[in-house]
Subunit: 407 residues, 2 copies
């Protein structure tokens, strides 16, 4: 949950503002005001650059489809095996992102139009234990136990994760199959968390997407280069990913009137403005009182609990949430089985993420309708360089730390 | 499976060719050749007309997302209850498709941009038994037992079905929630079959989408008004829907070389051309022999088995298939759990669909990699007219037959 911001910008503005490289995003120059046409590249040709200082799929715009795959190493896989896997996975992900056919794949037609495909890799703690123990970040451990959480083994920590996103669901499915098949000598799938956001081009410029509670879900995210450097990426281009699977009780939530929903969140449903403000991006005034002297924004509203306190302004991170909406569990009286695959990127979860999570799970009013059922933490290796480029970057995911582990 | 055709046309050509009404599909006139821009309406404003001679969601272009929901009537629901349900469901579906907030819904923001939302309703046999026995079509019964099928109760016949499709997954999820909630006094969800196709605008004009076997899946569908009138819709605008859930063993399929895959299908993988032809839409020549005197197209290839025989040219129907690609079943050694939610629309399944299905399940070479695991048949009521329009059409789904049932 939380208070993301990036959705508040158009993809175009975001791409320009964050300085994200895109190899073939061409922008239509012919949008016509008042007719609802937005300036986005055609999905038939849209791609996002794979190689770079940072992995794609983090600061790049959120695509419509997510296949988040948790993998565990097969018994007996050593440091050499992990290096081999990273080499072949990186090569194949680079080809798929560019719309080229990976080596030995017999399905070139399935990869021709990547539709902004990104494949982002993360390492769980066990990869460091096996292959790079000296390089393990001190924050790479389970999120501490939290009040109210009901974690399931079904969504537990894994050794590796691939975040596969595309604006085309067929591409997203195919890329998952290819990567799973390519890695099958080394890993087996522990879980797949599938999610969706609004379709490419379906949200007008300046509008923030909404989650299934109807809340705008993208207000306070980093957007400038400086904010990303401050909150999300270390100087070497690495990062961390926390995955929280959050079940949402839509049946109960929908029994609330709109005023109660807004009080629980601290923002207006209509436009996401804080209850003390006029516009989505207005700074909330937690000291404001109404005519009866009561706080306008409940101190236990989701927004108030999520805000970094004045003495800890660094408690900020990138939210990249996806919705899930599955059929009701057999025998359940619920109308659906819905929630968020909540992806948080930051430099250091211990400092930036976990304190916010604890504040929320202790007293966030939204807790009445949400339950955390999965948790995992990964180190995100820096971006790569195409081997032919001559740049001084890793040629494959984690090359530097994995080398160190073998020494 | 089968040999659909509609994907071979652009949405634009299709809309024009089939004469499908669309209340606000505006087409960008500024596409620029060679830059990959296609002439599609912005998803921020795209809608498909709800009311019409025929229900939307059949001849209209296939959207990216499917939520197919099978409902069973709650105990004690009578003919009057079914009429009430149809009235409120029709009203709400009409509002949702237009981007308006249904009566009593507290979430107007979730429905503002329908992204070509269609909600299509079908009646199972039991609705007629309860509310309209005299009107039951003679073909409205289970598909007869077929060789090789392994039908699961999980995907069995239901009393009602809603086919909910949108090019935006959030809209598709929301519309399912709304319709399920709206009907909860009368029905409970038996199953949800979720599926996906390529994203809106992701397939260039003239290209046919592919399923997860890599086959082009849209070659022989009806496309002209005459073909739709001949194959799909009766004069009163009604139709029938057969749902077959078809599991696809991708792991085994992917072990085949391309030549073997092409022989099993009867078409080239690269462009969908029959093995005797040069282009996707060339007529196959089943009599052609190669240099050794062997048939170029295997008589048991999928295409050859699916083709209507010369003495039964009416064995044609509309394929509207969606892919599914779920995580592997727990404990399975398979890399995924994938297949098709295969939706077939025709006037009369007994005459047009079932003979083709039988030919396929008896000897189609693709049977080695496919298993039919679900089956259901529905009557599709004619289209509706907005109550204010004064047109002589049903104001709600099935009004005419349900009235008759009460008489």
């Amino acid at each position: 949950m939380g208070e993301p911001r990036r959705g508040g910008m158009s993809r175009r503005v975001f791409l320009a503002g964050a300085g994200v490289a895109s190899s073939s995003v061409a922008l239509a120059a012919c949008s016509r005001e008042g007719e609802g046409f937005s300036e986005v590249a055609s999905l038939t040709t849209a791609t996002l650059a794979f190689d770079g200082e940072r992995q794609a799929g983090i600061a790049t715009p959120t695509q419509a489809n997510l296949n988040l795959v948790g993998f565990n190493l097969k018994d007996g896989v050593t440091a050499d095996g992990i290096r081999n896997l990273m080499q072949l996975w990186t090569e194949d992900a680079r080809e798929l992102a560019a719309g080229r056919n990976p080596l030995s794949s017999l399905e070139p037609e399935m990869v021709e139009r990547p539709a902004n495909l990104t494949i982002t890799c993360g390492f769980g703690e066990r990869v460091f234990d096996i292959a790079a123990s000296g390089a393990k970040p001190q924050w790479l451990h389970d999120i501490p136990d939290m009040p109210r959480e009901q974690l399931s083994d079904d969504w537990a920590q894994t050794d590796l994760v691939l975040q596969i996103c595309s604006d085309d669901a067929v591409v997203c499915a195919w890329a998952m199959r290819h990567m799973t098949r390519a890695g099958m000598d080394y890993v087996r799938t522990a879980w797949v968390q599938q999610g969706f956001m609004n379709a490419y081009g379906s949200i007008p410029e300046g509008h923030t997407p909404r989650n299934l509670f109807g809340q705008v879900d993208g207000t306070v995210n980093p957007r400038s280069d400086d904010e990303f450097a401050d909150q999300v990426f270390t100087d070497d281009g690495s990062s961390s990913l926390v995955v929280r699977r959050i079940a949402m009780d839509l049946d109960d939530w929908e029994r609330l009137d709109r005023t109660s929903r807004e009080e629980a969140v601290g923002r207006r449903l209509s436009d996401g403005a804080p209850l003390t403000g006029d516009n989505e991006f207005d700074a909330p005034d937690l000291d404001a009182r109404d005519e009866y002297g009561l706080p306008v924004i409940d101190m236990n509203s989701h927004m108030a609990r999520a805000m970094p306190p004045a003495d800890h302004p660094g408690q900020k991170f990138l939210r990249r949430p996806y919705n899930y909406n599955l059929p009701p569990e057999p025998g359940s009286e619920q109308l659906s089985n819905a929630g968020l695959v909540f992806l948080a990127y930051q430099k250091d979860p211990d400092v930036q993420f976990t304190p916010v999570l604890r504040r929320l799970l202790e007293a966030d009013r939204l807790n009445e309708w949400t339950t955390h059922i999965g948790s995992a933490v990964y180190w995100i290796p820096p971006g790569t360089a195409d081997p032919g480029s001559g740049e001084a970057r890793d040629a494959f995911w984690g090359e530097t730390v994995l080398s160190r582990g073998r020494g």
